[in-house]
């Protein structure tokens, strides 16, 4: 069965580009435009991986991650941040909140593949 990846980003362009890359890695892809929408999707069906932007309307990535990790099976999903917040402080904060990996934008297919491999998704 194909692994599932939820892409959470308020940019449709980023969701489309990331979606193509991750589909090529043999994942089925779902999309959400902000953290609240993503949380609803996860409560219905927890994906194997979540590619997560930081700055989004309604609920940002960090608040989503903290809420996700409090969910009953919220520790099952592997969360890879994918954001323009590229400084050490943001990265440390994301890891403390339970992020498994961190992609600094801009990214390419090789970076996504490398990071997914790092956390055992490939």
């Amino acid at each position: 069965m194909m692994k599932q990846c939820l892409i959470v980003d308020d940019s449709r362009v980023v969701r489309t580009v990331a979606g193509r890359i991750i589909s090529d890695l043999s994942f089925s892809v779902k999309e959400a435009a902000h953290g609240a929408e993503a949380l609803e999707i996860c409560r219905h069906s927890m994906p194997d991986a979540i590619l997560l932007d930081w700055n989004m309307p309604v609920m940002n990535g960090l608040d989503f991650l903290r809420a996700l990790r409090r969910e009953e099976n919220g520790r099952d999903a592997i969360v890879v941040f994918c954001t323009n917040e590229n400084d050490s402080e943001h990265i440390s904060e994301a890891i403390r909140a339970g992020a498994n990996e961190y992609i600094m934008k801009p990214f390419d297919a090789e970076i996504v593949e490398s990071k997914f491999a790092e956390v055992g998704l490939l």
């Binding site: 990265i91 890891i95 600094m104 970076i111 490398s114």
Partner: protein, 279 residues
């Protein structure tokens, strides 16, 4: 690019660094020489070759040949190989060492990622006997620009996200104001870089416990491959190990080395009359 230009550049690459370029790889030449062409204001590679012939300049010729080598590398590119070196080969060599001194040569180190990766991997092995060893890792490359970049140990956004986990990045690098990432000072005493052409004898580098030459040999002509292997074999301490990338088999490549019986993936110097490969 004219056919004559391709032939001139292919001859130069073969003569200086032993590289083989098939005509189908002409696009690689154009990509690898684009920076030099821009810097020197050559409109085309035909102009560059014309300049090489009209005003012979050995230094520029060397620079062009070095630029034609494969610079593609990444951190922890051969993870299994690094594990084998750090967890098995080096501890094995340490047992045989009276001085506690261990020397590693990364041959064809490019911009340094492989050499720094070995240092990181050693540092992470908490409780390893290597913690007490006097370790030196030397990375060499034929390109002066690559060696300079390797010495700086500062890598851009894209480089640090290929092969490095975020944990390793945060533990072993410092973010610069520019947004680049610099290797931590704790590794800089252990790792050094020098310019060296693998086609030349390497006695100046001294002898080594482990030589790692990954993803270099496949691009060489058969003769150059043999010369390079012989040059490296001469720098192996008795019973020391040569590692190449798993895709690069050295069977029948050079009679001076043979697969180690004791160390998976490693080669040892073939000493006639000696029955065991390693102590």
């Amino acid at each position: 690019m004219r056919e004559s230009t391709f032939n001139e550049l292919a001859d130069l690459a073969q003569r200086v660094t032993g590289q083989h370029f098939a005509p189908s790889k002409a696009y690689l030449m154009e990509a690898r020489l684009s920076a030099i062409s821009r810097r020197e204001n050559f409109a085309t590679l035909d102009d560059l070759v014309h300049c090489l012939k009209a005003r012979p300049n050995p230094r520029f010729e060397q620079e062009v040949a070095a630029a034609l080598t494969n610079k593609r590398t990444r951190f922890f590119r051969e993870k299994d190989l690094l594990d084998q070196i750090v967890s098995h080969a080096l501890p094995q060599r340490l047992k045989l060492s009276n001085s506690g001194r261990l020397r590693v040569w990364c041959a064809g180190a490019g911009t340094g990622q492989e050499a720094w990766s070995i240092a990181m991997r050693i540092h992470e092995d908490v409780g390893s006997p290597l913690a007490k060893a006097d370790l030196e890792i030397i990375g060499t490359d034929v390109s002066a620009n690559s060696v300079e970049a390797a010495k700086q140990g500062v890598y851009g956004h894209f480089d640090v996200q290929k092969g490095l986990s975020i944990h390793r990045l945060m533990t072993h690098f410092n973010r610069q104001e520019s947004g680049d990432w610099a290797i931590a000072d704790k590794f800089r005493e252990m790792v050094h870089f020098r310019r060296h052409n693998l086609m030349h004898p390497a006695q100046d580098l001294g002898l080594f416990d482990v030589i790692l030459c990954g993803n270099v040999l496949d691009s060489l002509t058969k003769t150059a491959r043999q010369d390079v292997i012989e040059n490296m074999a001469r720098q192996l301490l008795p019973d020391a190990y040569l590692f190449v990338a798993p895709t690069e088999s050295l069977e029948s490549a050079a009679p001076v080395i043979k697969p180690s019986r004791e160390m998976r993936g490693a080669y040892v110097k073939d000493t006639p009359g000696k029955k065991t490969a390693a102590a």
